[in-house]
Symmetry: C2
Subunit: 229 residues, 2 copies
């Protein structure tokens, strides 16, 4: 019998690679996506397609109202996504595309589902190397959340089992992530990474996320199969 | 200028007392409630009334889809709320009225709002004395969440400010909580604690939450101003 794992699936390159890794490790994957007030919904349709094509046990999309809080260029109508990495700054070195407490909220829902499923494993495709400098992608945050998760739930009371937060990409470069994914057979043309796609869903090629992705393919001497506008 | 604090407000006795304490400490309170698939909505209307009457700066209710996960008698249609404390048990000593990871999720949203508001203080009315044995009400959980919160956000990167999770009730008995609230002028007839009220909103008097509340009033030689069915 395979072990159950809950996996956060955004439809991007990183979470899709994480899904392939979890499956390669023998997990039965319960994929979780969020409609959190993103300005565009292409990542949700990508997540749906990927979940279907890569064979997850179940895929749920939860609607949450992060947009109501504001505070991020990804959810707030009157803030625009920076066109270049150098523009993407607010104070303290955190970019305006940062969504407050997003990974804490996402992991909390993953934890709730894991507890109901009786799963002991949660996968998240955070990366602390080729990333945008978000505080909730750092290894020390993940480690601390794992500790909190074990205290928050029946696992902590029982003491016999332990929730593990898996971050297989955390120390990989974007180029290494892409190499890993290709070796596992991922079709990256299905994934979407852009913060600011056009109306047809075509990525901009300029935002932070596009630039990290393009750099990853370039360093492998490969062409990104996605068509940019 | 008063300091901003985000406060989790359920409309029950504990969170209402916590609100009175936060205000007495000089905080400008941003109250946060959740429609999380509770079977009844009396606590949300109580929260609305309390927020208005006690003068909060803002009150938001966020809809989240915890019911979809199941796993609790408070959200799942085919599980019923136990009629007596002794019935309210599953394995590991955690009652079936426990909602998986609920406080982790609620605190995560409070954290997101605090970060957007620029607040450094979050209040939650958890209690580890006269409580139902939920893992996410224990002091060690709160302490761990506070640590995670600081690593999750811009606060952790900046390093100059620090998020504090305030739990003024954590070591109080229900009787002490009621005494504190009465001294601060709370009208407890507005609060609702029952897990299983009737259609008119009248509490049952038998569930775990009602019994803890009734015991608190009794120990003060007072009558609960709420009318039971």
């Amino acid at each position: 019998m395979s072990k159950k794992a809950v996996l956060l699936l955004s439809g991007g390159l990183d979470s899709t690679t994480t899904l392939a890794i979890a499956k390669a490790q023998g997990f039965e994957v319960y994929a979780l996506s969020f409609a959190y007030g993103q300005k565009h919904s292409f990542e949700l349709s990508a997540a749906n397609k990927i979940a279907q094509n890569m064979g997850v046990a179940q895929h749920r999309t939860i609607s949450i109202d992060l947009g109501g809080f504001g505070g991020s260029a990804l959810t707030q109508e009157n803030m625009s996504v920076p066109k270049d990495r150098s523009e993407n700054q607010i104070s303290h070195g955190i970019p305006i595309t940062y969504v407050p407490a997003r990974n804490t909220i996402f992991l909390s829902f993953a934890l709730a589902w894991a507890e109901v499923l009786g799963a002991y494993d949660i996968f998240i495709g955070v990366n602390a190397l080729d990333y945008s400098g978000y505080p909730d992608c750092r290894p020390e945050f993940i480690k601390s959340f794992e500790q909190t998760a074990n205290l928050a739930t029946a696992y902590g009371v029982d003491g016999k089992q332990h929730i593990t937060i898996h971050t297989p990409l955390i120390a990989l470069s974007k180029a290494e992530i892409i190499r890993t994914g290709l070796a596992l057979g991922i079709d990256y043309s299905q994934t979407t990474s852009c913060y600011d796609p056009d109306e047809a869903g075509k990525p901009c090629g300029h935002c932070d996320s596009c630039q990290l992705r393009l750099k990853g393919f370039r360093e492998n001497n490969l062409q990104d199969p996605v068509i940019y506008r």
